[in-house]
Amino acid sequence: MESSILTLLIFVPVAGAVLMLFFAMLYGKENAHYYKWIAAITTGIQLVLAGILYLNFDPALSITESPFTVQLNWITHFNIQYFLGVDGLSIPMVLLTALLSFICIISSWKIEKQALGYFSLFLLLDAGMMGVFLSMDFFLFYIFWEVMLLPMYFLIGIWGGPQRMYAAIKFFLYTLFGSVFMLLALLALYYYSDPHTFSLITLIQTVGSIDATLWGLSVKYLIWMALFIGFAIKVPIVPFHTWLPLAHVEAPTAVSVILAGVLLKMGTYGFLRISYPLLPGEMVNFAYILAVLGVINIIWGATNAIAQIDLKKMVAYSSVSHMGYVLLGIAAAISDSPAGAQAGMNGALMQMFNHGTITAMLFLLVGMLYDRTHHRWIVFPNDYEKPELAGQQGFGGLGAKVPVYTGFVAFAFFAGLGLPALSGFISEAMCFIGGFSVFRTLTIIATLGILLNAIYFLRAYQRIFLGPLNETYKDLPDITHRELFTIIPLAALILFFGVYPAPLLDMISPAMDGIIKIVQSVI
């Protein structure tokens, strides 16, 4: 059981997708009901498996010691392995993926358009994400990384909003651009390491001895840069971020949730899983730039969010800002204060998890509003299709009409602006403390984010929910039970980890200590 659980986590959704095809052959494509249920059951099983994994997970064990690790030869000629493993770095991401996938299926219950395609692609996406977080072989990692891309492209391109094709292509090309660099890094690592291997565990030992140069630059530096571009696009680090607002806005709700909740984290996960342990020397030299970029993300993302009049786009830019905290936190790995380094690194990983739950909740809530009103303009744009509405407030006073929904939005907004007792606060504070132990001035600038993030959330909250009720919405229905089912688990996690972050921290900190030790060993 223990050694098959990781494989199952990846392939249960694949099996679900295959099962759907059988159903389609037997009963025709039209019956959306089957596909929803198959998807719900498979992701449900996956979630249970993830739960079992969590219960049996021992944070003290490394990948090589863990009973869950699977290491089989796959393509022996190139020493490519089917190598799966889980440690403190990946387990929060695995749990997040399983949870959000399940929630997303439930939230997609009303999808009727080509349900077979939608749900089967979603399951493939799920499998790809799970694969990325579990792969300990770089080649396998790369395959899953690419596997994810295609379903995502179709999910945005077919089920998205009005500009879906443009958004899908932009997303695809951006990511592919990054993938090319990652592929180069992958090949370089393979050929320069001795023995040739893709194993991320072995590479930790062998990459250090590479001292080749290419075009007058050290190969390790080039590999670092190539990986950096690949991961930076996913995070996304400004200025590689413009795929994000568009893709988030155009994607259907559930896909936005996955994009913001899981996909963005792959970028920072990549740094921590691959760049940091393999190339600690380069990381140390690059840390300052990473921190600068983190601060730019925080400030630029938030400043842009303030100007948005589309609620979903505002939430999308808030992700840019919130991922900046992660960058600042991981840059603090070089801190000479042990408390600073630990606060930064652990805070960053916690922020990855917490942002996953918070932003998922935000996107789900935005989606609910959109489902009811068919728009999400905080303020109608000047070139709006109905000229009499242009420049007017899109909503107003909904708080009196839909109190339960409003309560959840307030909860999510306050979580987003880092209110203590909700999970985002702890992780952001830890990122700041870590950052401050190394980069004082930069972190002081970054703390402006505390204010800026509050500005756009509260402004949007006021314009949508406070003030006199906009009569257009006098019959707006409040939240349904199915919708409650999707957001209550997230709200519970946000509150729980805000009040009691120890379980999350204890789960991740040995792994983060390992990475810090590697980084600190080269200073």
Binding site: F414, L419, A421, I450, I455, G467
Partner: protein
């Protein structure tokens, strides 16, 4: 014993939260009996606070309760949660619980019939919870957490009637302005943590004492000033005071509880807690900010016509006093004033609430929606109609004006002695501090009596409204009477002194002077205050008398026409300056808010319309153009010309050679021979 106390402290903290949870989830079902839930739970919390307070009189030589448990940790980064109940905390707990309970009680009548009645009590519950958290916290991070949570509850309560745009604006403004201060506080906490390695207040004090900042006291000064930033926001000090007057959009009992007695005093309380690590440099800064706030807000209060706004600016001014007291080292006086102020200011606000309530009902009966029930110009002569409100408000006014026998006299006097002594020790510009202190004292007496005279004396502004005015019900007047009672000096000087102008009593015993670990010699400060005591008392008696006398002249006897004086003052634009609150809101709007929104708009244009649409999509465009070109080259040239060219040539030759395919065998043979010959020649060439 310790476990027992810990449980009590936990209950004290969490019972109000329980009230919040119950009322949020079951409020609809509970409906109009929501106040029973809240009163029971807050009442229990009050009982516990009283039991802690009883310990103030038992000298055990240590704090009443000090306990701490690990919250989360990883290696060297660990955070604890804990309680530290010393005498100051016990007093503060009682103040919070008492006022909170009275406000709950008062609200039963005041909020009757509100459609969100249960939610109102729920919000009061989460506020009391958060405020207790600040008081109990033994470490700065925990304090910061509850600090932000009171910000949340303040946001919810200011915006309670959120259908009003003004309320919706005010709650946002309050939260954001507070966050500006909180950023500073957070950075300050980070400096302290990274220098000493703990968030725990006692740990920090020990750290400073043991020389964690030795040779780098400048950093400690900066850290102190940064942490103080939090107090600047929360306690509405200049330049972040702008949110508090707007916060009056909330229901009046809320103003009494949060924006007068307790939350806004949290900044002062926090400084009391961290006082030992504030360096003389930081304290100097704090004193100046407090002094500016005290005098500036008092000046603004003179010209306001809205009864709540007068009280709001009065609160800002009094908070300035407390902060200034801390700054000049009069630690005890600052905290004393916090306590006395909580009683009389809560009383004043609840009285104003009683007046507004009466006005509101009168106007409601007359179906008059245009008259502002809070504008004092619409009142007048209410003394006879609302005797209890009048007398209690008068008592509280005497207290805030610093009249002997009332509590404000004692605490204000102690602060003024502190400022005088500070001047004696430092000379020079520090003269500003006593001037601000005594100046604000004159003005306070003046505007408070102006409020009393305009509201309760003179002729009613509108006889029809006057006819409909009634005294408020017992639920509202009972807290007034109680709080007015607590505004007498005697309550703070028992049992050591029954001489009401002597401030030695249980309070001074309970809150002794403490050592400062950051380089301030408290003995010198104490000595100085002791010396300045009688001078300060003399001057403060005089200034209170002047203020009251002027108010009598202007507004009771009407010997001087206030409008004329205002007009004269306005020759220098002085009246407008005060009436428009020194234009600070407008200045922020012009130099910060609007430019910032414009900047964010510009950034979004830059980010999307220029960077993405032009630059990033430019690459796409370039790629498409290039591939068009390469496609053209590929097809028009390579394919059509070169490849097809070969074809065409072949075709041409084919056509041409077709004629040779005429079936004449000799010709074929000849061709073959020529071919072979050509091959031989070619081969020989290589």
């Amino acid at each position: 014993m310790e476990n027992y106390s810990t449980i009590l402290a936990l209950l004290n903290l969490f019972l109000p939260l329980l009230s919040f949870v119950i009322l949020i989830f079951f409020g609809k079902k509970i409906g109009n009996s929501a106040h029973w839930v809240a009163l029971t739970l807050i009442g229990s919390s009050l009982g516990i606070a009283v039991s802690f307070f009883a310990n103030v009189f038992v000298d055990t030589g240590g704090p009443i309760l000090e306990t701490s448990v690990p919250w989360f940790s990883t290696g060297s980064f660990s955070v604890n949660l804990g309680f530290l109940i010393n005498n100051e905390a016990a007093i503060m707990l009682l103040v919070v619980a008492l006022i909170s309970f009275l406000v709950h009680f008062y609200s039963v009548a005041y909020m009757k019939g509100d459609p969100r009645y249960s939610r109102y009590f729920a919000y009061l519950g989460i506020f009391t919870f958060s405020m207790n958290g600040i008081v109990l916290a033994d470490n700065l991070l925990m304090m910061y957490i509850f600090w932000e949570l009171v910000g949340l509850s303040s946001y919810l309560l200011i915006g309670f009637w959120f259908e009003k745009e003004s309320a919706a604006d005010a709650c946002k403004k309050a939260f954001l302005t507070n966050r500006v201060g909180d950023i500073g506080m957070f950075i300050g906490i980070m400096i302290l943590f990274l220098s000493i390695g703990t968030f725990q207040i006692n740990g920090l004090i020990d750290g400073v004492h043991n020389g964690a900042f030795a040779g780098n006291m400048g950093l400690l000064t900066i850290a102190g000033i940064l942490v103080f930033m939090g107090a600047v926001g929360k306690s509405a000090q200049f330049p972040l005071h702008i949110w508090l007057p707007d916060a009056m959009e909330g229901p009046t009992p809320v103003s009494a509880l949060i924006h007068a007695a307790t939350m806004v005093a949290a900044g002062v309380y926090m400084l009391v807690r961290i006082f030992p690590i504030l360096t003389p440099g930081a304290l100097e800064f704090i004193a100046v900010v407090g002094g500016i706030t005290a005098i500036m807000a008092a000046i603004i209060a003179i010209t306001q016509n809205d009864i709540k706004r007068v009280l709001a600016y009065s609160t800002v001014s009094q908070l300035g006093y407390m902060i200034m007291a801390l700054g000049v080292g009069a630690y005890q006086a600052g905290f004393f004033h916090l306590t006395t102020h909580a009683m009389f200011k809560a009383c004043l606000f609840l009285c104003s609430g009683s007046v507004i309530h009466a006005m509101h009902h009168a106007l409601h009966e007359l179906k008059d929606h245009d008259t502002d029930p809070q504008d004092m110009r619409n009142m007048g002569g209410l003394r006879d109609k609302m005797p209890i409100t009048f007398w209690t408000m008068l008592i509280a006014t005497l207290a805030i004006s610093g009249v002997p026998f009332f509590s404000g006299f004692l605490s204000k006097d102690a602060i003024l002695a502190g400022t005088l002594s500070y001047y004696h020790l430092h000379h020079g510009w520090t003269l500003f501090l006593p001037i601000a202190g005594f100046g604000a004292a004159v003005i306070t007496a003046f505007y408070m009596f102006r409020l009393i005279f305009l509201t309760f004396f003179g002729k009613p502004a509108n006889d029809k409204v006057y006819a409909h005015i009634h005294e408020s019900p017992i639920q509202m007047t009972f807290p007034l009477i109680l709080l007015a009672g607590l505004s007498f000096a005697l309550f703070f000087t028992l049992p050591l002194s029954v001489n009401p102008i002597d401030n030695h009593g249980w309070f001074t015993e309970a809150v002794p002077m403490i050592e400062n670990a950051a380089g301030l010699d408290m003995h010198v400060v104490e000595e100085g205050i002791h010396h300045a005591h009688y001078t300060a008392m003399g001057i403060s008696l005089m200034v209170a008398a002047i203020g009251i006398f002027l108010a009598v002249l202007f507004y009771l006897l009407r010997k001087v026409d206030a409008a004329k004086v205002a007009g004269m003052a306005n020759k220098l634009k002085l009246y407008n300056l005060s009436f428009n609150k020194f234009y600070i809101d407008e200045i922020y709007n012009i130099i910060i808010y609007k430019p910032f929104l414009a900047l964010s708009w510009l950034c979004s244009k830059l980010d999307w319309d220029i960077y993405d649409q032009k630059f990033i999509d430019g690459w796409g465009w370039l790629t498409i153009k290039l591939s068009d070109k390469s496609g053209e080259v590929d097809y028009n040239w390579l394919d059509q010309k070169v490849v097809d060219g070969f074809g065409k040539i072949t075709q041409y030759f084919g056509k041409t050679l077709q004629s040779t395919q005429n079936g004449v065998v000799q010709n074929y043979l000849l061709g073959g021979m020529l071919g072979v010959l050509l091959l031989i020649i070619l081969i020989q060439q290589f």
